[in-house]
Symmetry: C2
Subunit: 533 residues, 2 copies
């Protein structure tokens, strides 16, 4: 890959939408040559004097990077939040970070600058951190990649789809996908075409089939030139794609000239394989950021010698969703167009977010942030394990043989049915030991993607799936547990690809451990009752 | 108006664009009825646990509401910022405000909530403040108006134009206007039609003329149904529109069924008439928020008994541009569509911005915030007066007779020419006492809108204006003063409406007083040199 690194991104400007082409180069671009003059008196913009900003400084009690241990079992810290609510728990270990309006060093993060109108590129200290972070962690295959801030990956994809797609075009995506990605594009009459998945996410053979057999006339649209993909902790399926699959898909995208939009919010929540409680032991992972990062599936950027990847990163899952801060990594040509697109909408992300988070990152430094990410990965592993343990307590979980095809090809599937003691009661009524649901424990992300076996519903008739999915969803909601119904994630807009099965996406990212336990108990009650009907 | 208040906004849904109609009602709207259940366990979203947010609390040293005095002359406080830079000045008077992750009262602003995914409506405490503020200050003419947060008025207008206009449509605006408003719409092939202005901004007779004489065939577009207007401290002209003009324009908009988008960032920077230094005395305005507000030109909302106004407010000019926080006020029907439009782009504004600014506002309370706004209005008056004083020092400023027509109808115009002592030198070379520029002191906002009299340029030929404007602009930039060139603000896209004159927009909002003085001196040198050529 060393020789490819020298290569510059190729010119992919033929992918730009008419809308993006119509955006002018900033008409005041001519100013740039004067802006270098430190004595320049700027009377052009409507900028308030910084003394009129009502904050003299902003501060935060920031958690330390090793707030979460690398030990991987449910434990006190996971429960500590409840205690804190009642003022009884141990205090979080924090340090104070401050961003002053008038810092003593010119290079320091400056609130007067962060609160002023800025370019859509964001504050310079953040630009610097992100560029270095991307270079070290994702290792793009070409040298002159660009990073550009945005206000979260929904904004990121929304800007991207408008920059690349004309109304009437179709983009490639996984058969199950992030709903907001669809709702960002559908009103513009830009629709998805679903590509079949397996346990690693999008299938390379299925992608080639869609592209090679594309019938422009039958489809009413030219062959797709944009792909939207969530390759790690895929939303909603939880699938994670390894290096060889990514290389195969990248090569197909080169062959068919497709831009890959890699939406990767869960990248650092790669948790490893689930082990049943009985097979698990307390283990403390070595605190070594390089090893942690090395064990992660690579980004598409690592294969991107042509600059055809637009990667979307967000701080939503690692700092907070309310930060509304994330960034693009892509070729300079695409970054310039995305910046223009941002100038007439969000402008720059909030200066309060930018400055506080940059101060946090530069205080923690690169190593500290990687340690923080590592701690979170272990936390989410613990949450996943705990949630599945709860399912194992509530249901009889049996492992299937390795599947030969479908979404879970190559996996052992956990199949949930009644526990023996309950079965006895059931058997009296239905004389069926019902397989009610199945799932594969995710290796990344925040969600269990659960198939509900409606074919085992007593009065089931083919075609009932959608209705039953919503009926069961509603019964759960009425019983006090809210999950996400599967239809919401379907990229077969208006079609039903998956006869005989419904799905729920269940999140283990947010609830307290005791609450997760309670939710699974309610889930058990509702499910048993439902399958009895 | 009391009886109109009872009236609800009428249904104006026929104004929605195809894009806006295509946006679904949020597909998870069905959730709403369950969200009222305080015991509901939410496992639907990808929300991180709040203990994973690395901020235990955020704080700010917030200025007190009366930081700026109501005394109206240049004085120490205006210069104090420079001193502070060197650590020598008096300290700003501040109080500490804090937003904790785990507040002790359930109704308190909660960082765990502000940093979580939220609705595009923003945090509830902010919603409450804005609703009350709008009701008290702008007094909308109908009862069930809605407010909705956005990330600044550029986002606000961008969302509005996509919600109301289809590609190919034309909207009404002032002949000189905010460039970003054009750059947000032009790539979508949504173009402006310029309406002639006078000293109050858009002319009612000119508006009626455009609408009544609209020739759909000749224009290639249906009659405009949307107006974009900056009615106070108009950008760039500085014009401010009073109540009777607004009422007249509103009535025409009712007659022709036009939606008014009132972009009003400078509303609280209404400064009153400029008086020459010799006529000015130090005056301290009474600290009475009611009187301050009562003397401001009313918002279009006050006449809006039909709900056809979308008002855009921003904290950019009163807190900080980097807050990226503002709000819409409009009918519930339009607010719902604007919210959907926001969900697929920015989602909610930054939770750090929302929570800190809400904490500031609820600490200051309504009266404190009005006092802050009043103080800023006086600050900007002082800045305007000082900048014009500098011009009076550098040039001979003569007042014209009241103009009968044009942009400055009904105004006395200040005309700038050489000071006598310099004139002697000039007379030897050119034998002309040149009128070089003219302007009307603005009564609101941040800008001087200056005509440059290129017809008095020695080798002037008709048609040279655009070239000369850029030549002079470049000479100024090279000499170290950056102003905004007039062509940039023209709503006659691609046309030249204003033969024989060029313009500069010059901002007095940001520079230090000593720097403004220096800038005007440089301006004088460059201008004298230019008109000698």
């Amino acid at each position: 890959m060393a020789s490819e690194k020298q290569q510059k991104a190729i010119d992919l400007s033929h992918h730009l939408s008419d809308l993006s082409r119509a955006r002018l180069v900033s008409p005041l671009k001519g100013l740039a040559k004067y802006m270098g003059n430190p004595n320049l008196i700027a009377l052009a913009g409507g900028m308030p004097h910084p003394s009129y900003f009502p904050f003299a400084d902003i501060s935060a009690s920031a958690l330390v990077p090793d707030s979460f241990s690398l030990e991987s079992t449910p434990r006190e810290s996971a429960l500590s939040w409840v205690w804190k609510l009642f003022g009884a728990g141990p205090k979080e270990k924090t340090t104070t970070i401050t961003v002053p309006k008038f810092p003593s060093h010119a290079d320091d993060i400056n609130l007067a600058v962060a609160l002023q109108y800025g370019t859509a590129q964001g504050i310079v200290q953040l630009q610097k951190f992100l560029k270095e972070f991307v270079a070290k962690v994702y290792q793009p295959a070409y040298a002159d990649f660009a990073t550009l801030v945005q206000t979260g990956n929904t904004d990121g994809w929304s800007r991207t789809v408008q920059t690349l797609c004309n109304p009437g075009e179709i983009f490639l995506t996984e058969e199950w996908t992030y709903p907001s990605a669809l709702y960002s594009s559908l009103p513009y009459n830009i629709k998805p075409v679903a590509v079949a998945m397996d346990s690693e996410g999008m299938r390379a053979d299925a992608l080639r089939k869609v592209l090679s057999e594309w019938d422009e006339e039958a489809r009413g649209a030219k062959r797709p030139h944009v792909m939207y993909t969530v390759p790690v902790g895929q939303n909603p399926s939880g699938a994670t794609m390894g290096a060889s699959r990514k290389k195969a898909i990248y090569d197909i995208c080169v062959e068919y000239d497709v831009i890959i939009v890699e939406d990767d919010p869960y990248y650092f929540l790669q948790q490893g394989q689930y082990k049943a409680r009985s097979e698990r032991s307390v283990e403390t992972v070595k605190n070594d950021g390089d090893i942690f990062l090395h064990n992660l599936a690579p980004s598409y950027l690592k294969f991107d010698y042509q600059g055809r990847v637009i990667r979307l990163d967000t701080f939503s899952k690692y700092v907070a969703p309310g930060s509304r801060l994330g960034w693009f990594t892509c070729s300079p040509l695409l970054a310039e167009r995305l910046e223009r697109q941002g100038e007439t909408t969000t402008q720059a992300p909030s200066g309060l977010s930018q400055s506080l988070i940059t101060k946090l990152l530069t205080t923690w430094k690169y190593d500290g942030y990687v340690r923080w990410l590592h701690g979170l990965a272990i936390e989410y592993r613990t949450r996943r394990d705990y949630f599945i343990d709860c399912l194992a307590d509530e249901f009889h979980l049996a492992k299937s043989a390795t599947l030969e095809q479908g979404l879970w090809k190559g996996c052992e599937v956990h199949e949930g049915s009644l526990k023996p003691k309950n079965s006895i009661i059931m058997f009296e009524k239905t004389a069926i030991k019902t397989k009610m649901f199945s799932f594969v424990p995710p290796t990344s992300g925040m969600f269990i993607w659960m198939k509900i076996h409606f074919e085992n519903y007593p009065s089931f008739k083919a075609g009932d799936e959608a209705t039953l999915e919503m009926q069961l969803w509603e019964k759960l909601a009425e019983a006090g547990v809210l999950v996400a119904p599967g239809w919401y994630f379907s990229a077969y807009v208006g079609e039903a690809p998956d006869a005989g099965e419904g799905h729920f996406r269940i999140s283990f990212s947010n609830a307290e451990f005791t609450t997760m336990k309670k939710a699974v108990t309610i889930f058990g009650d509702v499910l048993r009752d439902f399958f009895k009907e």
